[in-house]
């Protein structure tokens, strides 16, 4: 207890706040594992308490206590068992493809989350809160849909052109945020939220226009045609699996993100601006331009997610194709500590949640509980004090060393 007090006093306020952010980003694996565990435990409690059979069994607890207790166990194991069967391996299947299919579904759902999550993560590292992935995806969808339904091109080239259109449109949209922030100092949180709504209206408007995106012979409902066969993201492993080339783009995106942030000079400057913009400015970096570029590149990742969504559908597109990915991307980036590897893991987890939803539904457990689990996990990761209090973990001590002698000693030893 005493130790904790000291830790709190030694660091000045600003430092403390950023160090919390960094604690999140540092992503200590034990704490993450415990957060995930606690999230699932609380999710289980929700499942049990609001399950009618369990409630009924416990109402006559005296009549059959064993039955009451076993309903609890069965509800939880039904729920999470279904989640496992739907997202990782289905042991009820009799051939390899059936057994393995759930995992490919997880990959399919994870791909866009990872791509958009990388986008949000990038802005976090530049010290910006980009809530605008939703809008960027919608604008990207508009671009992808136009190219994929209205232009004719050879196979593969058409697909690449559509992906490029999605990325380009999203980047331009993201740049608006950067330019507004750079020119006027407007806060990016509010700008991105507003632009999300504007993008939604804009996309809906475009979907209503017969000469732009509206499906052939379409009427009042804003809906587009199905993307041309030449532009669609092909299936990776044949018709038995729904997994498509979006996964390849996701993998490329992850590698690119890792290189950009950890190895390139751009990433170095991004991180510098994120940690200390005024020092970056004094070091000759145009901070405002950096914001613009960071937001544009970030939006480019969202554009990839948009392409993944818009070029893999079987029917026509409506605005619902965005599927909340833009908002989920924020939680993915937070859970992943804004690092490439972390975002992949977080994207896989949330992808698994999406993939497992339908089997949970079939098993009679409301898959909505996963929404609670998801929120709790990220909340616990983002707010280390909660998880520490729950598991009574020690507070990491201050690593600052004040005495020059100690440092000198270290130097001598070396």
């Amino acid at each position: 207890m005493r130790k904790k007090k000291e830790a709190e006093v030694t660091k000045p306020a600003q430092d403390k706040a950023t160090s919390v952010l960094h604690e999140i980003m540092a992503g200590d694996p034990v704490r993450i594992a415990l957060s995930v565990l606690l999230g699932f435990i609380i999710g289980a409690i929700f499942m049990v308490v609001f399950d009618k059979n369990v409630v009924k069994a416990w109402a006559d607890f005296g009549a059959d206590p064993n039955y009451a207790l076993s309903t609890v166990w069965w509800t939880i194991s039904d729920g999470y068992g279904a989640l496992f069967r739907g997202s990782i391996l289905n042991f009820n299947g009799d051939e390899f493809a059936t057994i393995i299919r759930p995992f490919t579904e997880t990959l399919r759902f994870a791909a866009p989350l990872i791509m958009a999550g990388l986008g949000v993560a990038l802005t976090f590292r530049v010290g910006l809160f980009n809530i605008g992935a939703t809008g960027q995806i919608l604008v990207g969808l508009a671009g992808a849909t136009f190219v994929s339904t209205r232009l004719e091109m050879p196979i593969i080239i058409h697909m690449l052109a559509s992906v490029f259109a999605a990325v380009l449109c999203a980047m331009l949209w993201g740049m608006i945020v950067g330019i507004l922030k750079a020119r006027t100092g407007a806060h990016e949180v509010i700008v991105t939220i507003m632009l999300n709504y504007v993008a939604l209206s804009l996309f809906t408007y475009l979907l209503r226009q017969p000469n732009l995106l509206l499906e052939e012979g379409g009427g009042g409902t804003p809906k587009s045609d199905r993307p041309d066969g030449t532009a669609r993201l092909g299936l990776l492993f044949g018709p038995e699996f729904q997994l498509h080339y979006g996964l390849i783009f996701a993998i490329l995106a992850v590698v690119f993100y890792w290189w950009l942030m950890e190895k390139s000079t751009f990433g170095f400057r991004f991180r510098m601006v994120g940690h200390n913009p005024s020092a970056a400015r004094a070091a000759g970096i145009k901070v405002e331009n950096t914001f613009v570029w960071a937001l544009a590149i970030s939006a480019g990742f969202s554009g990839l997610a948009a392409a993944n969504q818009g070029l893999s559908v079987d029917g026509g597109l409506t605005t619902s194709i965005e599927a909340g990915i833009g908002f989920d991307a924020i939680t993915v980036a937070l859970l992943g500590g804004s690092r490439a590897g972390g975002v992949v893991m977080a994207g896989l987890l949330f992808g698994a949640f999406k993939a497992g939803s339908s089997t949970m539904q079939v098993a009679g457990v409301s898959p909505e509980v996963l929404g609670v689990v998801k929120a709790l996990i990220v909340l616990f990761i983002a707010a280390p004090p909660i998880i520490r209090a729950f598991y009574r973990l020690p507070v990491p001590g201050p690593k600052v060393f004040e005495s020059a002698q100690k440092a000198k000693a270290a130097k001598v030893i070396k």
Binding site: M47, L180, I190, V191, V198, E368, A375, A382, P385
Partner: protein, 426 residues
């Protein structure tokens, strides 16, 4: 020895011309109305319907030619715009009341143009009263935003506070059969949610924006789960509260136009009429408000004069949250009559925008919320009276206005200086 000559003006502001943004916007919009609604406008008639058939005093409808009306209004607006330019050249600012008159005129021209030749005409009472009712959750949400940002805590969780309030109000209201109990339960629930934001932000210094976003996700997750796993199967017994009765105020509700709009409403609207001025008074005229603002501007200074920064922040954020809960209740019990999945649908984020649009000041925030309320009803109404109008653009307007305002204000209007910054002693 001699003193260095100190010229007047050194250290004082270099001459800065007042911005031309406002006059230019006013003139441009007036020209648009004059040309497109007036000269090139529609040739039919507009019927302005003032009464709702319920007031004692009835005003006859006003019928006028659309082109003529819009030309006259456009010309008047242009005059105001030019007046604003003249004031600007003389170094003055355009007064707020002039802009208000301008806004009223522009609104009438827009409504009239949209409803030209429409059989039902421009139903003023319908439009204005819906504007008000739709703005109520935004106003309460905005108050929550003001209360927490004024003490230096950024509140992105308004959405969650509204949604939790809406949910709890509906469920508790239905179960107890008493809507007032439901309303109070909503305030308690949203207040409790805010204590999470407050304590994580104040005591544990977790990044406030992150906490806000995550609380929204959490509330959406929990309400969606409870709705699908529990409420939806048994709506009659759990989610069928209905709405509060409308209470017409004697005499006042008989005034033409404003009577039905302002004085024949549900308790949630009347509470807004009380709470907004009250918050303004507390914030700017009392000791509590002075201390709260001090905490939001310079927490260390507040601490050195013995104000408990953490406690002040905690209570303002929490009470603000419970007011947002009231906003949630006004969604279910004050308008819709039952809870629907994710029914706050981004209103909390709009409230956030309204707080900035209204410069952290309760009265202005209320006006900003009314603008959003107006466009929400416009989207529905415009489609009825004038089919084929691109409603998507109407939907966009308030967001664009907010964007322009946020971009234009930045640097001129200062948010509370310590907003978003944690405070650590020592």
């Amino acid at each position: 020895m001699k003193n260095v000559e100190v010229t007047p003006g050194m250290f004082s502001s270099a001459a800065v011309k007042p911005s031309l943004k406002t006059p230019i916007t006013l003139v441009a919009a007036a020209m648009t109305i004059l040309v497109f609604f007036g000269f090139l406008g529609k040739s039919g008639d507009i019927t302005f319907v003032w009464s709702d058939k319920r007031e004692l005093i009835q005003l006859p409808p006003f019928v006028v030619n659309s082109m003529f009306f819009c030309t006259v209004v456009g010309a008047l607006l242009l005059m105001i715009g030019l007046l604003s330019v003249a004031l600007n050249i003389r170094g003055g600012k355009t007064p707020v009341w002039l802009i208000a008159i301008y806004a009223l005129g522009a609104m009438m021209a827009l409504l009239g143009w949209l409803a030209t030749e429409a059989t039902q005409g421009v139903q003023m009472v319908f439009i204005l009263s819906n504007t008000l009712v739709l703005a109520i959750p935004l106003i309460f949400g905005g108050m929550a935003g003001i209360m927490s940002e004024r003490v230096g805590v950024v509140n992105i969780a308004i959405e969650g506070q509204l949604l939790s309030g809406a949910f709890v109000a509906a469920i508790v209201g239905t179960i107890t059969g008493n809507l007032y109990v439901g309303m109070i339960a909503a305030m308690v629930a949203a207040g409790l949610l805010s204590t999470v934001l407050a304590s994580l932000a104040i005591k544990y210094l977790v990044e406030q924006i992150i906490i806000g976003v995550l609380l929204n996700v959490l509330v959406i997750g929990i309400t969606n789960f409870l709705y699908s796993a529990w409420v939806d199967d048994d709506s009659i017994n759990l989610n069928f509260p209905g709405t509060f009765e409308k209470i017409p105020l004697p005499f006042l509700s008989d005034i033409p136009i404003i009577g039905q709009v302002f004085f024949n409403n549900r308790i949630t609207v009347y509470l807004m009429f009380i709470l907004v001025p009250l918050l303004w008074y507390v914030l700017f005229r009392t000791k509590l408000g002075l201390r709260a603002r001090a905490v939001g501007e310079h927490p260390l200074a507040a601490d050195t004069v013995g104000i408990n920064v953490a406690r002040t922040r905690f209570w303002w954020v929490t009470i603000g949250g419970s007011i947002a809960g009231l906003g949630g209740a006004s969604l279910t019990l004050g308008n819709v009559g039952s809870f629907g999945r994710e029914m706050s649908a981004g209103l909390g984020f709009i409230a956030l925008a309204v707080v900035i649009l209204g410069r952290w000041q309760p009265i202005y925030v209320t006006l900003g919320a009314l603008l959003f309320g107006f466009t929400i009803i416009m989207k529905v109404w415009a489609n009825q009276v004038s089919p084929g109008i691109p409603v998507d653009f109407i939907t966009m307007v308030p967001y664009l206005v907010t964007l322009v305002a946020v971009a234009g204000f930045a640097g001129k209007v200062r948010p509370p200086a310590a907003s978003g910054q944690p405070y650590v002693k020592g």
